[in-house]
Amino acid sequence: MSLDAHPQAPAATPSAVAAQNLTKTYGTGPMAVTALDDVSVAFERGRFTAIMGPSGSGKSTLMHCLATLDTPTSGALSLGGTRVDGLNDDALTTLRRDRVGFVFQAFNLVPTLTALQNILLPLELAGAKPDNAWLDELVRRLGLGDRLGHKPHELSGGQQQRVAVARALLPRPDVVFGDEPTGNLDSTSGAEVLGLLQRSAHEDGQTVIMVTHDPVAASAADRVVLLKDGRLAGEILNPQVQQVSDALAQLGAIQ
């Protein structure tokens, strides 16, 4: 683990995640479906990036491949400067454990463990000790107070998602992936979760990549990468809600 390898100044550093000619095909022969078609994209360190696109554009597949949850059919991928394509499942699992954080749309927490135990889970799986100062800081940011000892079903949806964000941030991974992290939340809770992600990118230099279909959520990011039919379809820097909505509408209209 490279806990201290995160520079505070994001701009001039190499990519946290970089994909070269990434292709993902499901099935074979005439039935084959190309979900990702020769995608080359890089994500800078310490940046909060949103991946957007209409349904079926391949945004989830791209995130799964970038996060090593899924293996691309071809193409090269590096994570934190390490080539990861071609690694076996155990190596990928260890890599995920040590260098990748996740926030899913739903079912983020293990129901038998308390909120705090859930936060500590990835570190425990790695057999590592948490950075207590960092843990305290995260817990403070969570604003959960005395609810850390509660089981997930005793927490609200927003609280559960914030716990998931804290869990993703605690090991200071190379990158945190969010798969529609606000998809199931009301606007207030959603804003809180996005605020946590934003802050970690801007204050702590944490690289964050989030898949979303919500222009409001995407506007919280520093950069929006647009996808259509498995190909890159442009990007927006420092996006505004209206800008993103327009771009999305455009992508849809061309269909």
Binding site: L69, D70, T93, R97, A106
Partner: protein
């Protein structure tokens, strides 16, 4: 609704497979038990039926009449007369039989079954296969015996009345050979037939026990009243006249009292297996229905009434039960039919037949339906409580409800307490209260066990929690523990099923080994030496009082002891000297009288020698005192007077704790010197039976063989050898065989419980697909996931097995104690190895059962798993 029921069974068939397997095994066990019963009956029928196979009417005089032994007697002719007089009877045959001895060619002198035939021999059940029926001074022999004896038609057989004072072996000529007898009561003995005239000439004294007749018209029932009257007029008290079928059923009923008992005992084991089946099936239904909550709720939103949901669930249960039951019936038929066919052909016993009947099939089907309906009743009730809203919830919120039922716990506790009190009385009673003690222990055990099973919802999760503790340091271990306890009721139910089986198996093992060691200790007290060879018994000197050691009788010496020690199956052997005798030996030797009734030897040797040849747990007499063997002196004696080699009388105090062989005394240590080191006078020594050889056996050779080889080695006879070995080996064999049979029968219940553990785990893993995928995404390796699931299975099975072992040990010890209250000492002996085997099987099978679901879970990519609804 019916379409839905069928569709559901088909759709969830994989989840129902284990339910079907459990029902199949349970029902197959029960049905097989019933078919074993019918087959034994049909075998008995076939066996006794041969006797009546050629006749239409069977008359059983049922009075012990001896031909020609004075007083009121009936000859075969007399008894045949009423039949012969009847117009519809065409042929008659009177049978009289008894056990005799005969010289049969190569077989030598044998005990044989001789049947006297009076009348038409063609009615005799065993058909002639060669030659003709016997005439005067002729005999027929069954084929098998003739072959073994190397006899053929025309050869001679010598026959004599068995046990008659004046044995007159007379030669008879074999006139023919017959089919072998199938009657189980006479099976194994050579069967010889002759005319009643020949039997009379030989003074065999055979009694008529049956008359057979062939009739030209009508039936046995038509003739019966008239014949019965005529026989009563002759002076018979209770003659029966029946058809062959009636006679067979009457005989079978008489013989099969024990069969019904066997069916009941086997049925009890089948019952245990079925109880476990109900638990397993009920639990599986609960799990399956919990997983289908949303589906059931959807039906409710679409307008299904509660009753309809309940009927749907029970309908599914009935179909599943019927399938399991039918497979079970086929299995039972196959196993019993196959078993009978194998036994019948392997031992060439054609009369061992499979008894088919329809009723066991009906019972099997009814029981399988009952089991499933009973098992699905509670889950079905729970399913109806699903609110339509549940369908609309975004995701299943599986939370462990802790409705453990206070009433249940209170009743369970009360039962445990009552049972414990009853068991306490069961083990503390005395010899006089033995029957009631065992009953108290039995009822107490039963009550407390029901109580424990009711407390299962508390006990099993608690045990799982304790066992999971050491694994909590690692996150995988902690998760395994948490998952095992996620649904405490599910875990408790499945654990209870296993607990039931393991408790009973361990109870039998502990009970049997402890009963055996207690019995052995008791035996060792009475017979402290495995095998004891005496040169001559004290009675042997009667005929030759003047001779040194009895005419032609063997005196045992150290060389003989060496030979015995060198025999296979002997651990140690030594010559044990007679160092003194009771005064009577000296007196009888002097007086040259025959009465030596109170003449007993006093054996003596140092502790080291005695330890090497006596039974392990035996207590040796203390220095200065004497041990008294059974029948050597009254048990109330506190002092024994003996005469040593110095010719002096010595008075020794009795050591009550120490043992000596039956009919002798034993001294050791300083007492030896005290009695004088001089050799005993030869006559007194001879009177006391001479020195003995004591041998300790290592149980590698059967007692019978060992006695034979000792007799050969020491040139003595079997009467000279006595000791604990034969009894100990017989008792051990009986206990071992019973234990093996009972364990095998109980194993069925354990197997069903293990199916339940496997299925529950499999369903739980399916239920947690998303969670497992999340863990994989967060960095749990495939191996860690598999290990986590294996540990979860091991924890549930291990907790149930450990509880079962503890309970089973308690029950086993209580049972053994209450059954052996009449014996002095109670020697606890735990079959640790077997207990470990039981634990290993339970845990091993559970871990094995986790392999498939774990592989499935590990194979699933995290993306696919997380996408699962």
């Amino acid at each position: 609704m019916n379409t839905l029921v069928k569709a559901n069974v088909v759709a969830y068939r994989r989840r129902y497979v284990a339910v079907i397997a459990a029902i199949t095994i349970g029902v197959a066990f029960l049905t097989a038990t019933l078919y074993v019963g019918t087959s034994i009956k049909s075998t008995l029928g076939a066996s006794v039926g041969q006797t009546y196979s050629k006749s239409d009417v069977v008359v059983q005089p049922n009075v012990n009449m001896q031909e020609g032994d004075g007083g009121k007697t009936f000859s075969a002719k007399q008894l045949s007369k009423p039949l012969e007089d009847s117009s519809s009877v065409s042929q008659t045959l009177a049978l009289s039989s008894g056990m005799m001895s005969a010289e049969l060619g190569k077989l030598g002198t044998q005990t044989v079954l001789v049947t006297g035939l009076e009348g038409d021999a063609s009615l005799f059940g065993q058909e002639l296969t060669e030659g003709k029926d016997p005439g005067l001074n002729e005999i027929t022999v069954n084929k098998d015996a003739a072959t073994r004896a190397g006899l053929k038609v025309g050869d001679q057989v010598k026959i004599a009345s068995f046990g008659s004072t004046e044995k007159t072996f007379k030669s008879l000529t074999i006139s023919g050979l017959r089919a072998d007898p199938q009657d189980l009561s006479g099976a194994g003995y050579p069967a010889l037939q002759l005319t009643s005239q020949t039997a009379k000439d030989l003074k065999l004294g055979l009694g008529v026990n049956m008359l057979l007749a062939k009739i030209s018209s009508g039936s046995a029932a038509d003739l019966a009243p008239e014949l019965q009257e005529q026989y009563k007029a002759l002076g018979l008290l209770d003659p029966t006249v029946s058809s062959p079928q009636e006679a067979v059923s009457a005989t079978v009923a008489e013989l099969s009292g024990g069969t019904d008992m066997l069916t009941w005992v086997l049925g009890a084991f089948a019952g245990i297996a079925l109880v476990v089946t109900v638990i397993v099936v009920s639990n599986t239904f609960s799990v399956i229905l919990a997983q289908r909550t949303r589906e059931l709720a959807l039906l409710r939103t679409l307008g299904a009434r509660r009753g309809q949901i309940r009927r749907m669930v029970i309908g599914e249960a009935l179909i599943v039960g019927l399938i399991g039951g039918l497979v079970g019936l086929v299995l039972a038929l196959g196993v019993v039919w196959g078993g009978v066919a194998i036994v019948s052909s392997a031992f060439d016993l054609p009369y061992i037949t499979f008894g088919f009947a329809v009723w066991p099939l009906v019972v099997g089907v009814i029981v399988s339906l009952l089991v499933t309906v009973l098992a699905s009743a509670r889950p079905a009730m729970a399913a109806t409580r699903v609110s339509p809203l549940a369908a609309l919830r975004p995701q299943e919120t599986v939370t462990a409800r802790s409705s453990r039922g206070t009433t249940r716990i209170v009743i369970g506790l009360l039962l445990v307490i009552c049972g414990a009190v009853a068991m306490y009385f069961g083990v503390t009673g005395g010899e006089d209260t033995m029957a009631t003690s065992f009953a108290a222990a039995f009822i107490g055990g039963l009550l407390s066990f029901i109580g424990v099973l009711m407390l299962g919802t508390l006990l099993i999760p608690w045990t799982v929690r304790q066992m999971a503790r050491p694994f909590g340091a690692q996150v995988g271990g902690r998760l395994a523990g948490l998952n095992a306890l996620r649904h405490p009721q599910r875990t408790a139910a499945i654990g209870t099923a296993l607990l039931l089986g393991v408790t009973l198996v361990v109870m039998m093992m502990v009970g049997a080994t402890t009963a055996r060691s207690t019995l052995n200790a008791q035996l060792a007290k009475q017979y402290p030496v495995d095998l004891l060879v005496r040169g001559q018994s004290s009675g042997d000197i009667q005929g030759a009082p003047g001779a040194d050691t009895g005419a032609g009788k063997k005196t045992l010496n150290a060389q003989d002891a060496q030979k015995v020690a060198g025999l296979n199956g002997v651990d140690n052997a030594a010559l044990i000297k007679v160092v003194a005798t009771t005064p009577d030996c000296v007196a009888s030797a002097k007086a040259a009288r025959g009465s030596a009734a109170q003449c007993f030897p006093v054996y003596g040797a140092n502790q080291q020698i005695l330890d090497s040849v006596m039974t392990d747990s035996v207590v040796l007499p203390k220095s200065g005192s004497i041990a008294v063997g059974a029948n050597a002196a009254s048990s109330s004696e506190t002092e024994i007077t003996v005469v040593g080699g110095d010719g002096e009388k010595h008075v020794l105090p009795v050591d009550k704790d120490a043992s000596a062989p039956e009919g002798s005394f034993l001294v050791s240590g300083d007492t030896l010197a005290q009695l004088g080191t001089t050799e005993l006078p030869a006559k007194a020594l001879a009177a006391a039976g001479g020195d003995g050889i004591w041998a300790k056996a290592d149980d590698s050779v059967s007692a019978g063989e060992l006695v034979q080889s000792i007799v050969t080695a020491t040139n003595t006879d079997t009467n000279s050898v006595s000791g604990a070995l034969p009894i100990r080996q017989t008792a051990s064999t009986i206990i071992d065989t019973l234990l093996m049979v009972v364990s095998a029968l109980l194993a069925v219940a354990v197997v069903i419980a293990l199916i339940g553990v496997s299925n529950t785990l499999s369903l739980s893993v399916t239920e947690r697909t998303r969670e497992n995928s999340l863990l994989r995404a967060l960095g749990l390796t495939k191996r860690q996931l598999r290990r986590m699931l294996a540990l979860e299975a091991a924890l549930i099975a291990g907790a149930a097995a450990v509880l079962g072992i503890v309970l089973g040990s308690i029950y086993g010890l209580v049972g053994a104690r209450s059954a052996t209250l009449s014996m002095g000492g109670f020697v606890i002996s735990m079959p640790w190895l077997w207990i470990l085997v039981v634990l290993a099987i339970a845990v091993g099978a559970a871990v094995l059962a986790s392999v498939l679901p774990a592989r499935r879970a590990a194979k699933l990519s995290p993306v696919e798993g997380l996408a699962v609804e």
